[in-house]
Amino acid sequence: MSNISSDDVRAEVKKFWDFLSRKLKSQFAEMYLSSATVFAADARRMEPARLMLVRRERELLGPASSVAAKLGPIDVQPLGADLAIASYPFHLSITRTRASGKRYQSEVPSGRVTQVFRRDEKGVLRIIHEHMSSAEPVSTKELPPTDPLKHV
């Protein structure tokens, strides 16, 4: 099998954000290996990716939520034939729906992410570890309730 190239990793990073912004739940979940671990941007502790996926699906991938990201330059560090690290800054605008039904608009102006990709047994690059953070405080405001008539 050929070594992982920087272009391969950059393509996976772009797929990751494309799946998230287009709310393609199963494709997005498949980006992670079952053993993957994650530091979410606002979390105090690391968690298994499968738990983070349940939360992101509920809060970010529903009909009243949205995600828009602008990515900065992606650094790629290959670590052998099957492993590579991607790290890059990003600007994120999200509309999140909490379990209570309330909606919040958040801006992450100076996001930073590290994603470690590993090739699985089928040769597909998948995330084994992710660390997201923000260099500046995230601004969040509550949105007014949506008018149900607009969704008829």
Binding site: T37, D42, R44, R45, G72, I85, S87, R112, V116
Partner: protein
């Protein structure tokens, strides 16, 4: 060459914090690969690990100014014969001298760390990538003399 082990990684993580706390005189920059990339504190962009280590070394307190680090449970994923990912939480309490000469105490209570180690040809583990962040901004207060 011996495969990387979880114990090897634990030792290196604790050595890292012992150096940063001023409790060990090993050189911080030698913990980083020449090609290491790091995200630290409030930096908006990644930077060279070696450069950051040189800068951070200048801030390591002398014996008169104790720093204290507490590292939480370290999760180690061995992802290759010579590569491992360490992920953990930490708290770090240190002093910093500002440009105007005044001293401040900085308490990072909810620190989060990812450090990726690779064994080099000389057998030493080095950090090839680091991402340090905090779930809440560090608390700053004027330090006593």
């Amino acid at each position: 060459m011996k495969n990387i082990s979880s114990d090897d990684v634990h030792k290196e993580v604790h050595r890292f914090w012992a150096i940063l706390s001023g409790n060990l005189t090993d050189k911080l920059e030698e913990m980083y690969s020449p090609t290491a990339i790091v995200f630290t504190g409030k930096a908006k962009r990644s930077e060279s690990g070696k450069l950051m280590a040189v800068r951070r070394s200048r801030q390591i307190p002398g014996p008169a100014h104790s720093s204290r680090a507490e590292v939480g449970s370290i999760d180690v994923q061995i992802v290759g014969p010579d590569v491992a990912i360490a992920a953990y939480t930490y708290s770090f309490n240190t002093q910093k001298i500002l440009a105007n000469g005044s001293k401040v105490q900085i308490n990072t209570l909810l620190g989060r760390a990812t450090q990726i180690f690779q064994r080099g040809e000389d057998g030493a583990l080095r950090i090839v990538h680091e991402h340090l962040s905090a779930a809440a901004p560090p608390a700053m207060e004027k330090a006593g003399e």
